[in-house]
Symmetry: C2
Subunit: 226 residues, 2 copies
């Protein structure tokens, strides 16, 4: 069976957004997999991968690191249920992946960083604070105090996506594919690690997220959350 | 032959960004077409289309308005040389189209609005000023004075695309497709109507734009520009 190594937080929450991309891609392909927990502060268990970041996927003798490389591996190895839909779709989806990581993930992080800190594994709390405060260039407490401004900025980044879901049901058209899993991963990260509801029910993005949470018998819905 | 109705400026410049999407899509499909000029202030020539916006495309008895609908029509009617690459690619490209129109086009407009005004057809100058100053909520002169701030904002919107072109040659992967024409349209709009160079030669976006300008024997390069 395929093994997926991923971060674990308090109450066995699985919160790595990049791991959620791999999880959804595996379900999309109809592949069974087991998940294995990793701590931010103890990555001995993924030393075999040659790297220090999750997710790591092991499919028999093949080890793949990095969520995008995992998606490409799955698409090449398992042809049914395409994630990208040919080379053009792969290119445009990869561009969306880069946009999400450079524009959306930082905007979301500003909003939920302090909430994440409260829900990482107790053993990871110091590690998370130290690395995150360098990324944010402020303390977690300062970031919490600036959350309203961060929410406003996040709203600006999301506005074109709200407009998108007035025109189409999924980023990939009439059914979800990898671009949707990229976007879901950011909201799932927030949903698993922050008690704050970011989307109003009438928001087209919220309605899209509900459709995503319904997929595969509620696979992303039925997990431990904040 | 296919006819494309599009805006014309001074010295027969063709500056409608949406028309550039249609132009490149037609070239991508290997289709010959003639272009017919339209003025902002006199749209009698496109009354037959039932609308007041360009581009309008006429392919024998079929009339199509709106650049996205033109792309979809071409993809459905002419199968060779795909623009989207299947339903997933179509969906993700449409989402990118919406993002470009909601995030990138307004950011570029703030930078070049006053330059555009100097290059629209003399007959359109008043019309352009009146409608544009409502959109901008300031005078063209005020927008020129705020150009440095607008450039900074544009740079933020473009940053994820610069990162993208460090990883891939085209948005659509190894060769250009409709997503690239969407992005090119915004830079071509600027190139045709503003004397300001927006991209430094070492910028991955600049190198991508050069590759785009080389396509189809320099089709987008060899036009009247600012």
């Amino acid at each position: 069976m395929i093994a997926l190594y991923e971060l674990k937080g308090k109450n066995d929450r699985r919160y790595s957004l990049f791991s959620w991309r791999a999880r959804m891609a595996l379900r999309h392909k109809g592949l069974d997999f087991e998940t294995l927990p990793v701590l931010l502060s103890d990555k001995a268990v993924i030393e075999f991968s040659g790297g220090k970041t999750v997710p790591v996927m092991k499919d028999k003798d093949t080890v793949v690191r990095d969520s995008w490389k995992i998606a490409e591996y799955l698409e090449n190895r398992y042809q049914d249920h395409p994630l990208f839909g040919g080379e053009i779709g792969r290119g445009v989806t990869q561009a969306f992946n880069t946009w999400a990581d450079r524009a959306l993930v930082p905007a979301m992080l500003q909003v939920i960083a302090a909430d994440i800190h409260e829900r990482v594994d107790t053993l990871d709390e110091n590690y998370f604070r130290q690395t995150m405060e360098k990324v944010l260039r402020m303390t977690l407490e300062e970031s919490r105090a600036k959350r309203d401004a961060a929410l406003l900025q996040l709203g600006k980044v999301l506005e074109p996506l709200q407009a998108t879901f007035k025109r189409q049901a999924f980023l990939a058209g009439v059914a979800a594919a990898y671009a949707d899993y990229i976007l879901l991963s950011v909201f799932q990260w927030a949903r698993v690690m922050s008690p704050r509801e970011l989307l109003a029910p009438e928001d087209p993005l919220c309605q899209w997220r509900e459709r995503m949470l319904d997929l595969y018998d509620g696979f992303a819905r039925n997990v431990p959350t904040a």
